[in-house]
Symmetry: C4
Subunit: 283 residues, 4 copies
């Protein structure tokens, strides 16, 4: 009679462990998986440091094999425990999971370490899985909502910044000499964006008095323009805050859990849901 008290067979139990985080076993699986993903990301990072790679190459390779074998087992388990494997295999996470698993196998087939490293770097995208567990999803979705609501305003803003950068960049190219680093219009535009966003590397810097005068204008513009996205987002946040207050039954209005449909794999079901909202299968 309990929600999932009596699993019909081991496949269902496996599905519950792998795809959901409501049971103790499911939570443990997720925590171990997150640790493994972070560990694999750290491995990729360490291998990119020449001094570390030179000294511990064998150890790193061995650990890479451990990660690869575990990812392989997880991938197989994910496929056999879902009723419609194709749904998972061709989903965003399915493809990422596959690409995270195969680089080491590929290295025995294909040459070119750079390409394989790029592939292994895709493992980073698995980090997004971690978000699933994050307790503060409510807050995140509120931020996301505010950003979505102001996306046209932000687009107008970025568009203006780009036009401004092209105009000022071209102007600077005409004024400044090659020695100062303004060797081409694209490079001058790059400098303008570096200055307008107040990053200011200093690898390119105006040398002439006129150039420095215009640079000054660009800086003050950049210093003032930053107020625009800030204003947009603040107003949007404050609207969200008000809406939250005026909604009668608290926020978030409907609590969703981490269950995934065993049939079609879709997530985000309501706590009190008995059937999948997409395919109608029993949860």
């Amino acid at each position: 009679m309990g929600k999932k008290a009596k699993s019909e067979n081991w496949k269902d139990r496996l599905h519950e462990i792998i795809y959901e985080a409501d049971t103790p076993a499911g939570k443990w699986f997720d925590l171990v998986l997150i640790a493994l993903i972070l560990f694999s990301v750290v491995l990729v990072m360490l291998e990119s440091v020449d001094t570390i790679d030179a000294r511990y190459h064998r150890t790193l390779l061995a650990l890479e094999w451990v990660v690869t074998v575990l990812f392989t087992l997880e991938y197989i388990a994910r496929i056999i425990s879902i009723r419609k494997p194709a749904h998972y295999i061709f989903s965003f996470y399915g493809i990422i999971d596959l690409l995270s698993t195969i680089p080491l196998y590929l290295s025995y087939v294909v040459a070119g370490s750079q390409v394989l490293l790029a592939l292994r770097a895709l493992r980073l995208l698995r980090i997004f899985r971690i978000l699933k567990l994050v307790q503060f999803l409510g807050e995140a979705s509120m931020l996301r909502e505010a950003l979505r609501a102001s996306r046209t305003k932000i687009a107008v803003f970025i568009y203006t910044v780009l036009i401004l950068s092209i105009l000022m960049g071209t102007l600077m190219y005409l004024i400044e000499s090659d020695e100062a680093g303004f060797t081409s219009i694209p490079r001058s535009i790059y400098w303008t964006i570096v200055t307008l966003t107040t990053v200011g590397y200093g690898d390119i810097a105006p040398q002439t008095t006129l150039g420095q005068l215009i640079a000054t204008v660009v800086m003050i513009m950049g210093y003032g323009i930053i107020a625009v996205p800030t204003g947009i987002v603040t107003v949007e946040f404050s609207k969200q805050e008000k809406n939250k207050g005026s909604r009668p039954e608290g926020y978030p209005p409907v609590h969703t859990n981490t269950q995934a449909c065993p049939h079609c794999g879709v997530g985000g079901h309501r706590d009190d849901a008995s059937f999948c909202y997409q395919c109608g299968a029993k949860l």
Copy 2:
């Protein structure tokens, strides 16, 4: 009986295509024109990159001729399809269009590639035409409105920043030596603005302890002062937002379209307008 169902002659049809974006043909013309403008801008940029210009000079020149011929045809078409050509020729866009068209012709008359490049760079201003099509003009005008409403406050702010920069720059010139880069007062003021706006190139940096102490003060001032434009714009946006909410018939209150009067060339007519609001000609 339809709004524009029966055009009297080919001139009117041309006018509709070139100056308006309400008909399929007009939309296509605008899209092609935008593509051409962007292409001509990219041409100018590529030609400024020495390595590219050295290898593909002939190709770039040929493409430049294509752009010039198309711009020439467009310019002529714009003149013959409007009833009062002088209105167009001496308008802001009319002058920009002319200046965008002639550089290549001029290069056979006048020497001095730098001047011609500068002229060709004016083509960038044609980018503003693209704005005509942009769907989110409502949002843009709201941002513009907020900035206009707070322009005196922003002027006071910029004025204060400039006075502050002159004072601190002179102070730094008196304290720091020439070796650190503070060779003159204008250059020291330039440094102050670079620091105050948190750009921080690092081409000029204080070396003495006292200079670094004052630099620290400038930085913290700059870090705090940025709050002022941000506060101004945020408050203004939030007012705009409220006004929007309190207006009875939604926003924007009156929908305007991209039609231009065939007589005087003015734009921004209401969707339901039958006569030009400026000269009274039938639309």
Copy 3:
């Protein structure tokens, strides 16, 4: 019967011209004075540029004499046209005016051009006089009011930033080597403030992995902390905005003019004032 139609003597008329900006003559005097102050500031700047000074030294010196003579005449006129000269002489502007006038005379008495330049730079402070004419004083006073209201909050903020900088700076000194530029604790604190305020010169930059990790923490802190003054000022501005709206008779509530009392020299009188609000003298 007019407010100032019948001036008793030339001293009163001179006072009206010099200290007030309500009559056409007074306005012209102020405009000429502002032009002269700006011109004298530009002179100081140009003289500091070595290449310009080398070529035009004689011209600059001649112009400097013109400015000095005019400032001397103005200073004398200010003294004789006010009833209580001591009030003016020992006021802030009185001292600045004197210091702006004497450097050239002093250069024939005292040696040491650096000291004299410093004295001439004080002339910059005369710029503040220009503010008197500025039309948007209402806006400026509103900004000033908002900043004053939030000054304790801003003080707490700056205090926190300083403590944080001392702590992180000392930490970086212990971690980073001298080669990276962290040669002493004050210098490391300087680096921390450069980083925390997102200025980032790059003259000092961490080299070790641990140092870069801590630098990362400082940057993200700085990136987030900037929200605090912004939040403070925005909230304060929005309060000011609301107060403005709720005041029954518009803003600013009382219009003041640029008249100055001929007796005690105090300014900021109401438009409809007949007597000085400080000393009771007839205006």
Copy 4:
């Protein structure tokens, strides 16, 4: 009959002087202590400057002895004047006070000046004691409250920034060569954070066109993302401001003083408190 008019013995009087700031003697003690802490911090800083240490080593050492002896006396006085010394000794400030006192003694036992300097730097943490006196604690607690209320939002924000930095950093490592400074993935991530937070040292800067294009994207992202913490904090501040207004008896609602319980050492008692709110001892 006065609140503390008749102290039973010298221990109580000492406790009042050291742990409280309500009596003139207590205020003086605090001011002297703050001066001493600041002086000791300045000593540590000066000793870290090589040129100063080389010239004034003996003077600095002597002053260091003075500070150490005074800190030792204070530490002993704090222990004997409190009824439960263990409460103080094992409190946060108790440990900091001990660690601030012992480095010079340790230098005769242990070698390794770097470790001792690190220990002496802990003295900086005593600065927080100064906060006790600060008059604007009400404002500080309001700021702290606002930051605490928005901590989950800020955590989501920092989390997103870190994920973004890892992704973009890895991408830049794959694109840019070692010569530009992108020698490893951790270093590339460091560069990404330097750019995203608009610090922009310039020690590492992209050289390829593609790298500069991605750098541009990172910069504009960083320029826009800064709006998020700003928006969060502003909304939170404005909520705090409203709450303050709606509280019936003003803010802060209850005035606390700097008294500390002589029995258990807890602070923050109400002005009208007669007994310690924690242990019930008479104040």
